[in-house]
Every structure is written in C-alpha cells, then in structure tokens.
Subunit: 283 residues, 2 copies
C-alpha cells in the first residue's frame, strides 16, 4: 500500500508528538520539527506509510539523541493492559466461544497506537473493548481461521504495539502455543512492541518470541532478519496485527489474516470499511 497525501498531516502530528517525548528543551524540539518538515516536503510517497514513518522517527531519534522516545508510554500501556488482563482473561474463558472472544479482544488492543491516533491517552480503551465484543464478526472468516489453525504446523503471529501485546496474549493462549512464533520489532519505533515489551507482559514465557531485526513500524520482509524471513516463508498461517503490518503486507500472497482496528481514514478507505471498524480480514 502506497502513502497517500492524507498521510502527510498525520506524519507531522506524529512527529510533533514524538518530538515532545524526546526533549523538554523548546529549541531542540523546534529544530527537530523543522528538519522533519523539510524532509517530509521532499519525500517519495510511492512507498508504504511505515517506510516514511521509519524515516521520520529515525530522524527524530537521531537529531534528538533519544533512541526510544516512546519508552515511557510503552511501559505505561504494558502495565495498564496487564492490570486489565485478569478481567479480560475471565471474559474469554466464560464466553460461549473463547477463541472468538480472544480474537475480538486482540483486535480491540490495537487501539493502543500512538502512530495512528492523535493525543491517544487510553480513555478510548474501554469503549473499544465493548465495541469489539459486540460488533459483527465474519463467521465464515472465523471458520476459515479455525481450519487454518488446525492444519498449521507453524503459526507466525506478527505483533504490533506495546500494551496491545497483552491483548495478543489472550489470543495466543487460545491457540496451540507450541506451533506459534511471535514476532516483535527489532528496534524501538513509535510505540511498537520490542523484545523487552514481550518479556514485560510474559509473552516470552508462553511462546517463542523473536525480534524481526527491523525498525520499521510495520513488516518490510526484505528488511527483516534471515530468521524472521525463514519463519515468514515457512509459516502455514500468518496473523498480522495492526495498521502498520497491514500497510506493508496487504499486497502479500501469503493469505495473511489481518486483525486490526481501522483507526485512520486512509486505511478504512483501502479496506472499504468504516473508520473505527473492527477488521478481521484475509485477502
């Protein structure tokens, strides 16, 4: 999926937020934001948004000297989601269809996204959970998914954000854990989950977790480690969470299941759904 002109104001808003996280010094903030504006003004738009996002956030990291501006918010949302985990786990176990409920909650967790959402502050989480638990979910897709899980010997689960991965854990726990490899990003980028987040939320204790070797806020397969590419090629079933993974993998022919909340108008248009929709989709 290419970058659209609508993405530009969103990149600048993201950059402003990232800059605010990097430094309290007004001069540094201003200098970095100005540089971002100049660079974005001459960027090539014929690439997926996560490539542009990576470029912008790397630039901010470099110019500000802070290589993980979102560390504090990542830790905050891991903690917050872990506090919610026991209740959510009970919701899954007491529901008529635990797997379906876990899928719905995994999608709800995708609301924890500092890339797509302006001024995200967590207040959206409870409402998103309620919506995800009651919104229509394609039942044929669900059967197809269950069938794929049963037939698979290797499931690659591509995670997205910190905090969100607690919601992913609920889904992972409804799947055959021994078949799953869970991938996180190789380096800090926006609030995307890395290995330290996977450890912090206990994912590493229940499945094999690998980092993908890349610092894109999505999955650019050619940019990933050999280990990741090997799993990607061998997996019988790939689950990709969130907008960034959709933006970078929507053209893949691997029959990937995409689980996400369509938070931005560009993604909603690309998927042909309403903005804010709960998306459970296979190409």
């Amino acid at each position: 999926m290419r970058t659209y002109l609508d993405c530009i104001p969103c990149f600048i808003r993201q950059a402003y937020e990232a800059v605010s996280f990097t430094s309290n010094d007004p001069e540094t903030r201003e200098k970095v934001l100005r540089e971002v504006l100049l660079r974005v003004g001459s960027m090539n738009l014929n690439q997926p948004p996560p490539i542009m996002g990576r470029f912008i956030h790397q630039l901010i990291q470099k110019l500000s000297g802070n290589n993980d501006p979102y560390r504090i918010v990542k830790e905050k949302y891991n903690r917050l989601a872990l506090q919610m985990y026991p209740d959510l786990k009970m919701k899954v176990e007491q529901s008529d269809n635990p797997l379906e409920t876990a899928i719905r909650l995994a999608i709800a967790g995708n609301i924890i996204d500092f890339g797509a959402l302006p001024n995200f502050d967590g207040r959206e989480i409870p409402l998103t959970i309620d919506e995800a638990l009651t919104a229509p979910l394609n039942q044929e897709m669900l059967e197809d998914f269950i069938d794929s899980v049963n037939k698979s010997s290797l499931i690659l689960y591509i995670g997205d954000n910190a905090g969100e991965i607690v919601f992913d854990r609920l889904l992972v726990e409804q799947l055959p854990c021994e078949k799953i490899v869970f991938a996180v990003r190789g380096q800090p980028i926006i609030n995307d989950a890395t290995m330290s987040d996977a450890r912090a939320v206990g994912l590493t204790e229940i499945v094999e977790v690998i980092d993908n070797g890349s610092d894109a806020p999505g999955t650019i397969v050619s940019d990933c480690s050999e280990q990741f590419r090997d799993y990607f090629n061998r997996a019988d079933l790939i689950i990709a969470k969130g907008q960034g993974n959709y933006e970078t993998l929507s053209d893949s022919d691997k029959g990937i299941f995409f689980l996400l909340k369509a938070k931005c108008p560009v993604i909603a248009r690309h998927l042909g759904c309403e903005r804010g929709a709960i998306v459970f989709y296979r190409k």
Copy 2:
C-alpha cells in the same frame, strides 16, 4: 500571542484540507502541499498564528490558482445557519435575558471554523448550541458588557467566519444597531467572512458593514485599511469574535470583549480554560 510548536501540525492539517478544496488533481495537490511543508519548515514562529496562517493560505491560493478555496463551504454554512436562524431568534426572544442568550449563541456560532477544527462537518453545531446555552457565563462580565454598550457611542464588532456571522446577527439585533460598525475580512482567507457573506446573511441590511482591508485570518491592525483603523481607534467598545481575532488582539489595551469557543489546546492554555470552553472574556 506568538505561534507555538503545537500550531505546526495544525497548520499542515489546515493546508492539507485547503489543498483538497483547491483542486481535484492529485499532482497539483501534492506539489502545493510539499511547498507548504518546505516553507513552514523555515517560518519564523515569533508572530501570531494568523500571520503564519495567512502566509500558508496565500501560498496555497497562489500555487493552486484558486483564490477562494473555501467559497463552497462558506456558502454552505451561511445557508445552514440561515435555516437555523428563525428558531434561534425565537430562543433569544423567548428567553429571560435575550441579550445573554444572544451572547451565548454568538459564541456557539464560533464552532463553524475550518481553521481550528479538523474535518469540521457541522455535526458539532447542535451540541455546541446546547452547551453554550447552559454553560456558566461570567455575570459580572455581562454587567460590564451591558454597561459598556450603554455608555458607547461607537461599537466595533469584529466578525470571524462565514455561517458564524448569522449567529453574530442575533447578538447585533440585541444591541443598538445604529451604534455598530461590523467588520469582515478584506479578502478570502480560510472560511473567514468577507463582505459577500455579510450580504448573503442580511447583516448589511441592519448595520454598517465594512471590510477591514486585510486578508489575515485575524486582525492585524497595522495591516488593515485606514477606515478600519479609524473605527478601531475611535470605538468605545470592541467585540472580537473567534480565535484568530483573539490571537492577534489579545495584547491590545483597548479593553476588547472576546467571544469565542476555545477549540484548540494552544488557545485554551493561553486563556487558562478547558479546551472546548465557551469564552466571554475581557483583558
């Protein structure tokens, strides 16, 4: 009031929207938006936001060859507000304090702002009216205002946006019309009202309307016509509507009454109020 770093993402969002209104041609849109990014990246921030806004919107007008990108939305909101006018007029006349009700509605009308609000589509209007009619309003300020009106021989009412000026008309009608000069912008800029809007909503039939000779989305007195400056200097009472007029006149010592809805966090911070608050303020 100077421009803050928070204003930058908002300028780019405004620019994207303005560009979308100027042309359907993707190449033109992209070219213009890129140029805006490059120019904003090197802009001097030590000036009020409307000076930056004017620069950006003038640039868009020039590069796109469209000198009034918001014409269609200005006409739309004039029409929409005129449809609401009879009901609102009745609300004013049947209320215990028609002047106070008219002040509240004039402030509510300030929601019709394509500068401050992302994706404004009018849905916010009914709720804003309800809020403005019930929110606390400083009663001392109201008495001070009534006193000023009674003592004035010349009242300068500085309007803000198209559509909004229908709400201003409700307030103007509760004041001694013969004392009022109503000022609109001299040239199209964002959705700010110009003389053609004043005519379209019938304001010109009830008070003297002048254009201020300037194309800033606010009031930069030194940039205005001699006629406007003369009224500005002679007025015993100045009523200034909206964020742009506040941003450019907040340092004035003319004892201006500011009526606005604090739609953006920068303005809310500057005024020390909640974002979204109904503001009836004199320095």
